[in-house]
Symmetry: D2
Subunit: 222 residues, 4 copies
């Protein structure tokens, strides 16, 4: 991967810091950073990342337009108006938008969508385990994976243990066999690795509105 110059909106938040860690480790150069207090510019970014809040979106869009820079949009609480604004932006630059940038989770969602229909007659049990500070249950990822199976009422078990970053599993079984699909996060910063793949994809892509699935499908042999 060649060195990218990148900008981060929300650089001082938890997500912004993780992104900067992962991008710095991979040899990329931070040339622009922005948060609620203002924007520091140190060069023209090849790509801009925003995993902050919908409040920052107008600044983010202005920056992308100003630099003709593609955008990786990972903010989780976007409304319809926000998505419309991003789609308008995507007429000028590549925009990769997703509510989940964990590669493994996204692949598992794709596999469930493609293969759960062939497992329709099998029993299904879903489990997720997270650290004991997590308040909501089941996790958003568990719901997302369950929805992908098309079985919205599948029993779902939430466990809270110590410092577990996040485990998810879907087990299908019939009289003679069990098939298990499991994902385990090794750290809470997995999404930043996905953001890096997305950035590498976006700097090469034509203007357009892309999902994280589009980024992953790039890996397929044609």
């Amino acid at each position: 991967m060649k060195c990218m110059k990148y900008g981060v909106v929300g650089f001082s938040g938890r997500m912004g810091k993780e992104i900067i860690n992962v991008f710095t480790d991979a040899g990329h150069e931070l040339v622009l950073k922005s948060d609620a207090l203002g924007t520091e510019r140190g060069g023209r970014p090849d790509v801009i990342l925003d995993f902050s809040s919908s409040a920052a979106l107008p600044v983010t869009i202005a920056l992308c337009e100003g630099y003709a820079a593609p955008l990786i949009a990972g903010t989780t609480a976007l409304g319809d108006a926000d998505l419309t604004a991003l789609k308008t932006l995507s007429e000028k630059v590549a925009v990769v938008q997703s509510f989940n940038f964990a590669t493994g989770v996204t692949l598992l969602r794709m596999i469930m969508r493609d293969y759960a229909p062939l497992l329709e007659s099998w029993d299904l049990e879903i489990e997720e385990t997270h650290h004991n500070k997590k308040k909501d249950a089941p996790s958003g990822t568990a719901i997302l994976l369950r929805d992908a199976t098309g079985r919205k009422n599948a029993p779902t078990h939430s466990m809270r243990i110590g410092g577990v970053p996040g485990d998810h599993s879907l087990r299908f079984g019939n009289e003679g066999e069990i098939l298990t699909f499991a994902h385990r996060a090794l750290s809470r910063g997995v999404f930043a690795i996905g953001a890096l793949s997305a950035a590498a994809f976006a700097v090469e892509a034509k203007p357009g509105f892309y999902t994280f699935e589009d980024v992953l499908n790039k890996g397929r042999k044609v």
Copy 2:
């Protein structure tokens, strides 16, 4: 193990059949069988097994006394009067009594009793998975293992999948580590293998009232 001559009370029930299967495979000889319809005698038994119901107990006790044969008592629904009768019998012959003859489950229970106190400050999540015909939840074994940890309120998750004979796990975790203890039955006839160990123990033992734990502890180097 030398060849044992054995008798089975409740020989025509599901448990009786499993016992006969496992004992026959191991080369032992069935010389006495009894059920609600009567008793067939074909020789003097070295040991008698009863995994049937408390209704059969008077016959069982009379047979053990008559032959001075030790007893493996695996009936699950025994009342206080039944246990008193077995204790009286144990003054004359060895009696091994347990509500669970699965070796692995019993070992896990012993380990939980010995080690869960050292894991008191860790989170605990208990899981059990059984075939989708099982009606009660959580399983009796899950409750037995949970009780052994001394944490009667530990969260316990019951899953029902296809033809699973029976999985149980206890996961303890803190900020930095997870310890998992898991048992998996490979068939529904596990208890009969345990009954075989108990029988081999009983034919060598002095009169007395023994638990299945006593049978397993025989394996320790002194």
Copy 3:
């Protein structure tokens, strides 16, 4: 599923017996049985199953032609000439041919073929566990799954424990995530359940040469 009349070539072998067990439990009617000693006919079969040996193939093909009955061909040691003969037969009747009729294993192979290319940069470790009587290692299924990933040199670990019918797992991981795909057989007769799906498919299918994957894909919404 409506009641099928079926025939079994190799009815007296281990595979034949498992098929008859599973088909009988599901309410189908055995009307023809054949082995090296001869053929007993009790009616016109809707479908014929042969999981025996290539030596039986000429008889099997003659029976299918005689009754215009579709064939489920699960014999594992077929040569090129055998496959050619089956293809010729498939001009007249539906033939479902596979070397593995375990549904879960076949689905896992399909998923690996479709998705392992997107996991190319991840580490991969493969494991299989079988009962301690199994002589060959790694198992044929482990090799089949490994081949489906396109990574013929992926490290593969074989474990031999007690009476395990057969577990397989593929674990992919990178710096931040682990994805696990696992299959567990609950009994050694899984293939017969797959043979039943294949038979239900074949009695409805036009003449042609089908794989077990074609049978499973029938489950997709169109």
Copy 4:
């Protein structure tokens, strides 16, 4: 736990930094730090920790004697002369010495030592998974756990996947059951949490030479 004043020998190394992180998070006060370049004193320590190298031991022992402070000795490459020196020190202060301060691993070792003899007739397979930068195989912890079972030739499988901090499992099985004992580290700094338990133990203990097992057994109800 009341606030401890503590000293760290080897404070500038990787282990020293982890210890300071964990102790600081738990509210304890660093009052003395030492490394190859010298010693900075900022108060009288209640306990001193040394997880550095045997070269530092003379300084460490002098500090403990000077302050009459107990010692947590976690250096892994100690020779016989080093251990003798620590035993002499333990006549004056409490010394907790161990080659492994991971609580879960130590408990698992204790359980294996106590219970593996009852599983002697079961098959055993051992597995460990670590990050792909790890060079040695099997891991030291796998060897330590295997030795605790008394079965030095038990098959042991090493897997190297992405960023896994460290998983270990021991699976015992017979014809009808599998018992699995598994440990999973959630981060590479687990030992520092154990060092904290050891320090809390040592500040209350009489002079003497203690193992990490003595620290853990403190948790037992008497």
